[in-house]
Symmetry: C2
């Protein structure tokens, strides 16, 4: 288009130095440590907010994608860590859904509970499990708004077959939120 510049979404250039794409991540803790490592690197490198995520094949532990908050870096309010993980996973698989008959089930592991946008996208993404690190109240202490998420919101996803786990390695995830606060990172959409 003449009026709108092309939109290109990509990872910051440090990703391959933090992510081992060949490894099998076999436990919830290993998977969450990767999401937290991504969130930490995003803060340390100054490429975005303190939020990281990853998508895995549930059974095999194969890593499909990671995501890191890229709102400020890419001038795009929709690019929370979870959204980056969904988009890149679907680009890699060449499909708008991660749920296919007879195919592997997928899960999203995120360093902080998803905001309203990301929780909605979780439903559309086709993942069948959601594992969260920090609580929404932890993010709100930094004045990050989480949007209109209610207990019924999580129940809505669970009724549609998505298992939700809260508080996985919450303390480790919180260390990155505190690192961001102490480094005075910008609170966009505060």
């Amino acid at each position: 288009m003449s009026i709108i510049p092309p939109i290109r979404i990509d990872y910051p250039d440090w990703v391959d130095s933090v992510v081992d794409w060949e490894r099998r991540y076999t436990s919830d803790e290993e998977r969450m440590r990767l999401a937290i490592a991504v969130s930490r690197e995003n803060v340390v490198r100054g490429t975005g907010g303190p939020f990281g995520a990853a998508i895995f094949e549930m059974e095999s532990g194969r890593l499909v994608s990671v995501g890191m908050n890229s709102v400020v870096r890419l001038n795009n309010c929709t690019l929370h860590g979870e959204m980056m993980a969904f988009m890149t996973a679907q680009a890699r698989l060449g499909s708008f859904t991660l749920r296919h008959e007879g195919g592997p089930a997928h899960e999203l592991v995120t360093s902080c509970e998803p905001c309203a946008m990301c929780l909605g996208a979780t439903l559309w993404s086709g993942v069948q499990r959601l594992v969260c690190g920090a609580h929404r109240d932890d993010a709100r202490r930094l004045r990050f708004d989480e949007g209109p998420v209610f207990p019924e919101s999580h129940a809505y996803l669970e009724e549609r077959g998505i298992q939700i786990v809260h508080g996985m390695l919450r303390a480790e995830a919180n260390e990155v939120l505190e690192l961001y606060r102490s480094s005075s990172g910008p609170i966009y959409n505060g």
Copy 2:
């Protein structure tokens, strides 16, 4: 990245034939007619689901961007019409928010009430007004799920200064939903 192919987000090639970028859209009806025209063209051209949106400067009626459902076309579950409109507006303005001190206020006009993801993104986008055509129940009759949206969800946005208008040209917006149904378009994420 080696593992993830680059993600490029663009409009289908018919956009400039439907959208008059120079025109000032001065009334709610004119603005909604554009969003509906975009939704219709998306169905007629077979480039996506029956949902269109546009972002305007509230006072001047200047058109900033349009958006059309691009989930299947671009293999990306996040690309609802509203999300396309936010991303392209922010790319055009070179900013992750449409709200700037002293700058023009913006509004989102969408042919159907936003799903949970898009409603969350509405909050992050910086628009100060949301105008909706078809009701969520209209979309659900086609078996499009709207996700966890509750009356409190709209109230949450209103409390943060976003004015919401429902049912603008609802009948015209619904004609496109019916067109999609009669053409047996795919109901992704149904």
